[in-house]
């Protein structure tokens, strides 16, 4: 349900940068480790953009895969969940280095 808050946040950021111009496309980075449910996101988006500069905008979403570094053995590895273990030594003491992004990269105005 927080997807609506996220969508409102995107609308705020894009509206600030669009300077009054209707928006054609928005490019987003959404990390695979963020708790964004894309179905809920799409539903929220459709409703929330009505009457805003983003009403006709299409979304270009880059999903960023999760990556971590093990704090015990130094191995770098891909992760699907924040609690995955190191593929080298099985430790859970890991540092997430990629995959939690939630960013508006750029936009194109009409």
């Amino acid at each position: 349900m927080h997807e609506l808050s996220i969508v409102m946040g995107i609308i705020d950021v894009v509206t600030e940068y669009a300077k009054g111009e209707p928006v054609k496309e928005v490019t987003l980075d959404i990390g695979c480790l963020t708790t964004i449910e894309m179905f809920a996101f799409d539903m929220a988006w459709k409703q929330a953009v009505k009457g805003t500069l983003l009403e006709k905008a299409t979304l270009d979403i880059h999903r960023i895969e999760g990556k971590a570094v093990c704090l015990e053995c130094g191995t770098g590895f891909a992760i699907n969940e924040v609690y995955d273990a190191c593929t080298g030594c099985n430790s859970h003491l890991i540092q997430i280095v990629q995959g939690k992004e939630l960013k508006v990269r750029s936009l194109i105005i009409f």
Binding site: H2, V13, V82, H92, V104, R105, S106, I108, F110
Partner: protein
């Protein structure tokens, strides 16, 4: 525009010092801005306020019914002479929780989120402006009962405490990993009910530590009082 007070919390200072515009496409605008930028900015502001006033701010999160408000009632009553407390209550509707806190003689303000499912830094900022929490004291922010959404929203707290109870299943941390991953302390409440439920404390703690190896765990019962001393010791250690 903020629906609470009509204020415009947008920052208007931004620079386009690196232009990624392509020569043939002038309408491409670089943004590179975190979606939670506004919330994080206000959270940092709240954090600065807490530091300046020497307030220990604690964000209490859990699913509905795990005992957050009862834990606060016990804590506020037992430690009344030791620490200066203030409370921000978050619920969709009613002032019932704030009323309970008020009955302990503690300064409290209620935020009603309406359809909203979590507190955010903006709401907390407004609550702080209204309430003037005790300096050199402890501020409890009791979040909306929800183990999913509040995990994403920094309120500016120093400590995040996730409360679960023995009636909720020992696999709770695995099912709601983000909340346990972003918390500092896990309280397992209602241990007086252990004889009546198929809940393994060992499994619950192991699951919690698998999600977050640095998570501290305290087991207690607000009803019997068992374990509350450890919670009070933890509070006092964080305050000093």
């Amino acid at each position: 525009m903020c629906a609470t007070c009509g204020c415009d919390s947008h920052t208007h200072t931004h620079s386009h010092s690196h232009s990624h515009a392509h020569p043939h496409d002038e309408k491409h605008i670089a943004v590179e801005k975190d979606v939670l930028y506004e919330n994080n900015l206000l959270a940092a502001r709240n954090r600065g306020f807490f530091d300046a006033k020497n307030i220990l701010a604690i964000n209490l999160v859990s699913s509905p019914g795990s005992g957050k408000t009862t834990l606060l009632e016990r804590t506020l009553t037992d430690l009344k002479e030791t620490l200066a407390f203030s409370v921000i209550e978050g619920d969709q509707q009613t002032t019932r929780d704030a009323d309970r806190i008020h009955a302990t003689g503690t300064k409290v303000v209620q935020i009603n989120t309406g359809k909203g499912c979590h507190l955010d830094a903006h709401m907390v900022m407004h609550a702080l402006q209204g309430m003037h929490p005790h300096e050199n004291g402890v501020l409890f922010i009791e979040n909306v009962g929800n183990l999913v959404c509040p995990a994403m929203f920094d309120l500016g707290e120093k400590e995040r405490v996730v409360v679960m109870s023995v009636t909720e299943g020992d696999d709770k941390p695995l099912k709601y990993p983000d909340m346990f991953h972003t918390s500092h302390l896990c309280i397992i409440n209602k241990i007086d009910l252990l004889p009546y439920v198929p809940f393994s404390l060992d499994k619950a703690i192991a699951n919690a530590k698998r999600i977050n190896p640095k998570l501290e765990v305290i087991t207690l019962s607000c009803t019997s009082g068992e374990g509350l001393d450890k919670w009070y010791q933890w509070l006092e250690s964080k305050k000093s």
